[in-house]
Every structure is written in C-alpha cells, then in structure tokens.
C-alpha cells in the first residue's frame, strides 16, 4: 500500500528552489534519504511533515491530500516527526513532554498514559522519564525526540538525522527500533550516515541539488560502486562508493 505519494513536487527554502520535480511513492518499510548538504532532504522531510508548503505539485499522505486543511489535519494525526533541530521546553520532564506531544497529536486520552510509557521504554529512557529535558545529554535528548515522534504509533514516521548524537550502542538499539516500526509502517529517515542506510533501510533515495538521482535498495546503490572499487576517494565501503558513484554520474550528466 502506498502511504506517501508525491507528484511533480517543487519546493523553495529561503527563496531558493530546494526540490525540483520530485515524484515519489513509498509504502511500508524503512526508506533512507541520502544526499550531500543542500540536496533537499530536509525540505522534503518538512514537506512530508506538512510544515512546509509545496510551490507546485501534490503530496498525498496516508490517502489524504495535504493541500486541503482537513486532509492535512487527518494526516498529521497519523504521522510522527523528528525535525533536524529538535526544539524542546527545558523545564518539562521527558514524560511530560511526550505527554504534551500526545495531546498535540489529539490522541484519545485513555490511550495516552500507556502510549507515553511505551514510547519512553522503546527509546530506553525509562530511568530518565522523570528528568527534566534540560538535564539530559545530547544523545538522550535525541532519544526523547524519537519518543515524542513515536508516541502515537505513527503510520508514517519522519526522522531527520535521528542518529546524530547517539553513541554506537544506542545506534544499534535505534536500528532495532526502526526495524520494529518499519515492519508494518512507513519510516522515512534522512541521514548522512550511509552505514545506517546500509544496515537498516529497505530502500534508499538519493538527492542532489533538489533532484532525485537514484532510487533502489541499498544493495543496488552499492552495486554502482563496484566499478570503482580501487578508487579510495569513493569511500571505504561498497555503499559509500556506490553513493559517490551515483553522485558523480549524475553531475557528469548534468554538465554534459
């Protein structure tokens, strides 16, 4: 089932065209968004989160047209979002903040206590549930951000740089969480870490200069790098080399 349907999407960020003619379909599973800085990943995430409005094109989430106010509201109830810069209220505890977000997501009140508890447990912050957010480390804050994103069991989960600040052990646990959620729902992860994509994602989408330049499985991306295996500038792993190769090929085509 298609949960994300993007057609002819053009979007601006700071007056500059950040996404140019994007067509995309996503279903259940984990989708990685890769690309260099300024490629348009965050603009796409913001658009999918219904925070940014498209200049052109249409975005349909979970069967709802986000151009319509009612459709946007219905979609928002069923999505979870972790922005690249996670803002929070420092005086709130982890549990209070997650509960506040559950209220904002208009969750049925009888479900909230259990959902808050479960979300905090899934990100491994049970022992810090009563701690104020201002007392948490960067990694813990990121996990609190993930907890608020998943509190409503979203059918579409959007995570922008979710592993930034997490230590290796936490990243391993986080990938497990992604797999768990992605088994039934749609998870979109924007990241710079090719390694995360290789291990966790079912599908990878590569952007450059606002254009979609590659879409396939991590293995298919890795195969693009097999021809330049001896070129150390392409990366240390096959996926990194595939990523570099795809970018170079696109840029060469664009110059030509």
């Amino acid at each position: 089932m298609v949960t994300v349907r993007v057609d002819g999407l053009r979007a601006r960020y700071g007056g500059k065209l950040a996404l140019d003619g994007i067509n995309l379909r996503m279903g259940a599973g984990i989708h990685g968004l890769l690309g260099p800085n300024g490629a348009g990943k965050t603009t796409l995430m913001r658009t999918l989160a219904t925070v940014a409005r498209p200049s052109e094109g249409s975005v349909e989430l979970l069967g709802h047209d986000t151009a319509q106010q009612d459709g946007r509201k219905r979609a928002r109830r069923r999505l979870g979002y972790l922005p690249q810069t996670f803002g929070y209220y420092p005086g709130f505890t982890v549990a209070e903040f997650v509960e506040y977000m559950a209220w904002l997501k208009e969750m049925p009140k009888d479900r909230v206590p259990e959902a808050v508890e479960r979300a905090i447990e899934r990100v491994g912050l049970v022992d810090r549930a009563g701690s104020k957010l201002k007392k948490l480390s960067g990694g813990m804050l990121r996990r609190a951000g993930i907890a608020q994103a998943i509190v409503n069991d979203p059918e579409l989960l959007l995570l922008d740089e979710p592993t930034a600040g997490l230590d290796p052990e936490q990243r391993v646990e986080f990938r497990g969480l992604l797999r768990d959620i992605g088994s039934t729902n749609t998870v979109v992860v924007s990241t710079h870490l090719v390694e995360d994509v290789a291990i966790a994602c079912d599908e990878v989408t590569l952007f450059d200069g606002g254009k979609l330049i590659f879409r396939g499985t991590p293995n298919e991306l890795a195969e693009l790098g097999t021809f330049g295996a001896d070129d150390a500038r392409g990366g240390d792993t096959t996926l990194e080399r595939g990523y570099t190769a795809a970018l170079r090929a696109y840029r060469e085509r664009a110059v030509a």
Partner: protein, 431 residues
Amino acid sequence: MTARVLWHEIRRSGLPLWITPLLLLVSGLVFIQTLLRTGGQRLEWATSIFYDMTPMVVLASTLALVVAAWRAGRERRRGVAELIESTPRASSQRALLSWISVAIWPVVSCLPAVVAFGSLSREAVSGPPLFGILAAGLATVVAYAALGFAVGTFVPGRFTAPVAGVVSFVVTIALGPRVPHGLLSVVPQPTYGTIATNRSSVGLWDRPVWWFAPAAALWFAALAVALLVVATARRRLLTIVPSALAVLLAIPLAQTQVWRIDTASPSLNCSDGSVRVCVPNEVGVAPNAVATSTKPVRTRLDDLPTVAPLGVVDSTSASAYVWPQNCRSYPERIRCSSPRPSTAGEKLAERVSGWQCSSSSSPGTPMYTSPAPRLERGVRDWLLGRTGDSASEIARYLATLPDNERHEWLSRYLLAAERCDVSAVAGLRVS
C-alpha cells in the same frame, strides 16, 4: 487530558519563581495600607478599593503582560514551532492552554488584595462593599495577559516582554492619574467628593452606578477574548476590525461619568426598641450594637432638654438618636473616626458635652478646642459614669448632686454648649 497538560504547563512554566516576590510585594503593599488605616481611622469604600487595587492592577497587570508576552514567543525561541506545526491540534487551543497557564499566576498574585478587601469590609464606610469593582480589577489583569500574549505572538523576540512591561508600567503610572475621565478610567478608579448635608457629620459619597463594575468586567473579558483571537487567528488581518471595535467600546463606557453621588448612603438604619438608635447606612454597622453601647449615656440624658446635636430625624424624633459619626474630607480621602460600635457611647458623650461653635471644628476632631475644657471633660466623664476617685472634680461633683439640681445644672450646660454661649456657664458651681 487537557487538564493534565495544563497542569504540566503551569508547574513547568517557571512562573512560580517569578510570582513569589510579586506575591510578597502586593501583600506587603496591601497590608501596609490596611494597617495604616487602623487606629480609629476609617475610609470610605471607594477609597479602600482604590488602595487595594492600585498595587493589584498596576503590578499584577504589568506582570501578566510581561509573562504572557514571554510565553507567546516561547515556541519560536525554543525552536519547537516546526515540531508543533506538524501536529493536528488547533493553534487556538494550544495558545489558550499556554495563555491560561501564564494568566493564572498574576491572578493568584491578586489574592492578597482580595483578602485585604474582605478584611476591610468591617472597617470601611459609605454603603455596601464594592466587590464588583474588585472583579473588574481581576478582569483587567486577565485582559493585560491577553494583550501581552498578542504582543508576544506578533513580536516574539527576547526583548519584547521586558520592553512591553516597562512601557505598560510607565503608561499606567504616568498617564493614569492624568486622564481621569479618558480611556484609562475604564480601569476602575474612584473619584472623590463629598457633599455636606444639613445633618452634621453625615456625608454623601461618590459611588459607581450599579452597572459599572459588571460592565467594566465584561468589557475587559471581551477585550481579552478579542486579543486572544487576534493572537491565534490564521488570518489575523480579518480580526483587527472587530478587535478595534471592542477597544473603542471603552470610550462610551469611560465617558458616562460612572462615579455618581450615592444618595442612599445617609439614609438611616434604626435599632428596635422604644428609644431608637439610628445609624447612617454609610457607617455600615448594626444599629443594635450601637444602641447597646450608647445605652448608659442615653439613660443619663433622659429628660434633659437638648438632644438636638444627636439628630432630629422624623416625627418620632423625640426618641431617635443618630450615632455621631465624625468624618472629614481630605483632597484624596475621607477619614471617619470611631470605627467600632463599642466606642459609640464614648463618642456620643463626647459629642453631647462638646461645644458647637462655628469658629471651631467639631468635638472629637483634631482641630477642636473647647472654650470650657474643665466643664466639658466633667460632663463627658459623668455621662460615661466615670465618677470614681480618678474622675474629674466636676464629674464627682455632679454625682453628689440631687437629681433635680443635677438636671438643672446639666440643662444649663448643654444649652450653652449647643449655642456656643460661654457666658451662660460662667456662674455654674463646680464644687
């Protein structure tokens, strides 16, 4: 659920730390004012409410404005706006929750003023307590919180709240008294004035018309709603016109001279019994308590010819006494002596024995100088039953006189005192 989130907002807003000093400040100001008014001094209700509301309205409203402006800019300052934008909850609900959590603390800081007002209700004079004005004052604080929220929403910078607070404080303090009947007078502020009546010591005070307090409270509440709509509306420009109309409604409200003469204040409230003791409504105490307190003095005054200073009120005036209430008007206040019914007997004796001379102030007032102080003190002591060894010589002398001689002596003195005729008492024996 909403209540729980509101509770989180209230607890985690950091405002309790801000509120504590303000609570102490308002409490201090109100109670100092209250304490200064004890010691035999009474104030009219309009003055009492003014003293209570000045710290309440000025300080609490300024605080409400500041904290609401600060809170309104919180989402953008903390970088939470994007996250919240991705949720379905209506921005008006979110803003209302946020606003309530900050507006509640300034309202709480008004509680000392409310308590002080309640405690003063036994002391103040001139008609019934003006609780409606107090409610209008609370509505003022709430409206300021809405104004701050609207300002903070439009200008979410870090300097918005302190600048708005300073501006509000300066405008309220500096311009408020200069615009007695202008827009700012919508904030309940009494004007002062008395009109002397033909009865000495009974005054008419200004009171607001009955609808003023509810109208002012409603106006402030409506203003608060209008400002919140402006702050949360998706299309803000469309809300400007109805909001401006709401603000402009203050002009007719402020221009109707709502503080008017209280014609009911001097009407009498009388005790039961064959001899009635009447107390003007403005005194605000039970006439029966005054009757009990004054009974010994009144018993000694039986059959004496002059009760005129006590007040002749109607066809049954021969048995009606008006409790002498000594009130003096100052430019900004009215002070009344003898605040407690228990002292009414003493005041009655003082009044009866005092000299009604036009060149002098009334007996019992600070400026009063008796033309015959020894005689006056003696008569007063005798009326109060103070005839023991420590009593004045004249009081003891009066106690030894046969009834008919004492009656003649006292009649001569009281007539002289009422006519301010010192020569008439020149030949009175004093021992």
